[in-house]
Symmetry: C2
Subunit: 414 residues, 2 copies
């Protein structure tokens, strides 16, 4: 077997657009004189994913035609698979002051320094009915809560729907070039690995069959089990933490990252895993987001994407295994390179079973519920923030300790 990594999505290599050296100095200076366009935290994450090649073959924010085709067909207008719109909404006043053909400086929140330059190729509007259409396409699941439809009351209940409906109505499309990646990694810039960097590391380690583990939580034993199951059958695992924005109540990135580092130190063979983080905001789009996760993991060089129970879900919007099932129903693009090549490693929810005397899932454990130790994340939070202790069958003691401290400080501080 050759040690060849899966090719980047789209079939024409990584589309990287990061200025460096003299070109960077020069463009950073020039950017100060360009019209300023202020962008959201989410757009900043998308921008970094685009420019580093994690969103290959995208070279910029989408046009309205691409937006529509991705919503309805999960295909870009050229026929390449793509599951979720990546659009740039901006304030109406700024929209009015720029024209197609202009170069503009994209300014993220909290700074006046340009993160990127953009060449505007299209200006368009998405009205509230069009945003509703996006939500129905992207966020509609088949879980208990999805039945009432999104327009009525989902705004309050679904953080992804809320995000889209609260976007501006005005959008710019066009290619972008990265000037400044800012501090996206919650003080751990070493964890931000570009697709080029992960591919280099995988190749150095002689890996070809690499699985990615998506994490937005502190890695309980159930996640450890997913990761270790993948490790048994792959060359290595990329533990990929989300460092972008989550919904209120989720544990912040720096705490989660400390938990994962500790777990790797105490319970993993470090040479078999790589811990990295990426700057995307969660969409909570369940199945569609699982597909997006596979797309950018393919760009990072991963041939497998671990998809557990209710991947990228929220509340009861999606059924438990909807994010696994969607991989069986994605369109077959006309060109071979346009197809998604990172395949799902579908693993059921894991638990500790006292009869099995180890971790198991419903696929491997035949015993009654009374022997299976499970607990909801909410309940873990309640116990730990109340100063109680959680079974080491659920959370490793070293991780519980970090979480207890976090909750204690939060209780004191908040």
């Amino acid at each position: 077997m050759s040690n060849k990594l899966v090719e980047p999505h789209g079939g024409s290599g990584l589309s990287i657009s990061v200025l460096t050296g003299e070109a960077l100095d020069c463009e950073q200076k020039r950017a100060r004189s360009l019209p300023k366009v202020h962008i959201s935290h989410r757009a900043m994450g998308d921008l970094l994913m685009i420019c580093t090649g994690a969103f290959s073959p995208l070279r910029g924010f989408m046009t309205k035609e691409d937006w529509k085709s991705v919503c309805g067909e999960m295909l870009l207008t050229d026929g390449c698979f793509w599951p979720i719109p990546v659009t740039l909404d901006i304030a109406e006043a700024e929209f009015g002051s720029v024209s197609v053909g202009d170069e503009v400086a994209l300014i993220p929140p909290g700074t006046e320094e340009a993160a990127a330059e953009m060449t505007i190729t299209e200006k368009f509007v998405l009205d509230s009915s069009e945003k509703g259409y996006e939500c129905e396409c992207v966020f509609r699941g088949h879980g208990k809560d999805s039945l009432t439809g999104f327009r009525e009351n989902a705004l309050e209940r679904h953080p992804g729907v809320k995000m889209v409906l609260q976007q501006h109505d005005h959008y710019l499309a066009g290619p972008i070039r990265l000037l400044n990646s800012g501090d996206v990694m919650s003080g751990r810039p070493d964890l931000f690995l570009t697709p080029q960097q992960t591919r280099t590391i995988f190749t150095e380690r002689n890996w070809s069959n690499v699985a990615a583990l998506q994490l937005r939580n502190p890695m309980h034993r159930s996640h450890e089990y997913l990761c270790k199951t993948a490790l048994e059958v792959c060359d290595g695992v990329l533990i990929h933490s989300l460092a972008g924005r989550l919904k209120p109540g989720d544990i912040p990135a720096n705490v989660r990252i400390r938990c994962i580092d500790k777990l790797i130190e105490k319970y993993f063979v470090p040479r078999n895993v790589i811990h990295a983080a990426y700057p995307l905001d969660m969409r909570y789009a369940g199945p569609r987001e699982a597909l997006l996760h596979a797309v950018f993991r393919q760009n990072h060089g991963c041939s497998k994407m671990i998809i557990g129970r209710d991947h990228a879900g929220v509340g009861k919007f999606y059924t438990e295994y909807e994010a696994q099932e969607i991989f069986d129903r994605i369109p077959t693009p006309k060109k071979e390179g346009y197809a998604l090549k990172c395949t799902p490693l579908k693993i059921d929810m894991a638990f500790y079973c006292t009869k099995c005397d180890g971790m198991a899932t419903s696929r491997t454990c035949p015993h009654e519920e009374q022997f299976q130790i499970t607990i909801s994340g909410t309940r873990v939070r309640e116990i730990l923030s109340g100063g109680g202790s959680v079974s080491p069958k659920l959370i490793r003691p070293e991780i519980a300790e970090i979480l207890e401290k976090y909750y204690q400080n939060e209780n004191l501080g908040a």
Copy 2:
């Protein structure tokens, strides 16, 4: 994803040659008047594998050219991948009394009833130097014991070498038709599933990604772990027990099969596994036999073959992971259908780790040996046959009980 099973090896369907109904009655009668050729126990197993399609695309025993090409190149003369010779050696007296073009009745040990008819297409001789060549090609590993070469003293030490060197010098080649499968399954004929039967069951269960677990032992927790790891990432697992002949000291098939049935009953989700057996004699050819295992599992409809530590090995003839590594070095046949399509699911040796608090391998457990509970098969045998008990971390108590009884009876009887 379509629920399509991996295609049979060779690219032209299963080559089944089993007579039934009137044709069978007629041919069974006719066979009584054909010249009798007595065949070995091993040849009887091979014959069943050929006729049921488990050895597709083979339709009979190999010619000398195929034998030579398979030894040296792992390819049949038509260019199709094949890892181990499948030849029919017979006594010189019988060899002398038949001619090319003759139809003969193949008579297995212990009966005078024909198992199959054969049309002789070639008669050939393999002298002792040619058998030595076969042994060097097929059994030479890179373990500690392989260095001295096979001709000197391997006859005594390697059961596969011994088998080949003790074969007759005279061989018949030609296509065969099954008349009578005899009692090959140690009293459990229900466990003998043909490739057509396993494929039917897989399709009924809607499986497409099926892994095979090769078993010639009673299924300790380490094998259970291999099987369950595969179960987490595949649609189902075919637990495939060898019911042919083993080397002295190995546990007989009926005891092993009882252990596996009990383990499935107590520790597996029965709908996710199928327990079957196949009538091949062990060759102990390590890497080459692992490839043969993958070939006939592909014919059974399995896309994955679990390959653990020292698969199909014996003594120290092969290195620990040589049988995994050979899959990376097999020749690429000219025709796509001629390539092996059943890929290895390589899993390291498993053990119980008290720090991990569960089963693990060297890929997933970073802890020191003192926390890892391992024990050799020989030591297990010593303890159980001495009336001692083995840790439930190594063998499930229900299985240990069956083995204890077997050893007690053996001690009394032998």
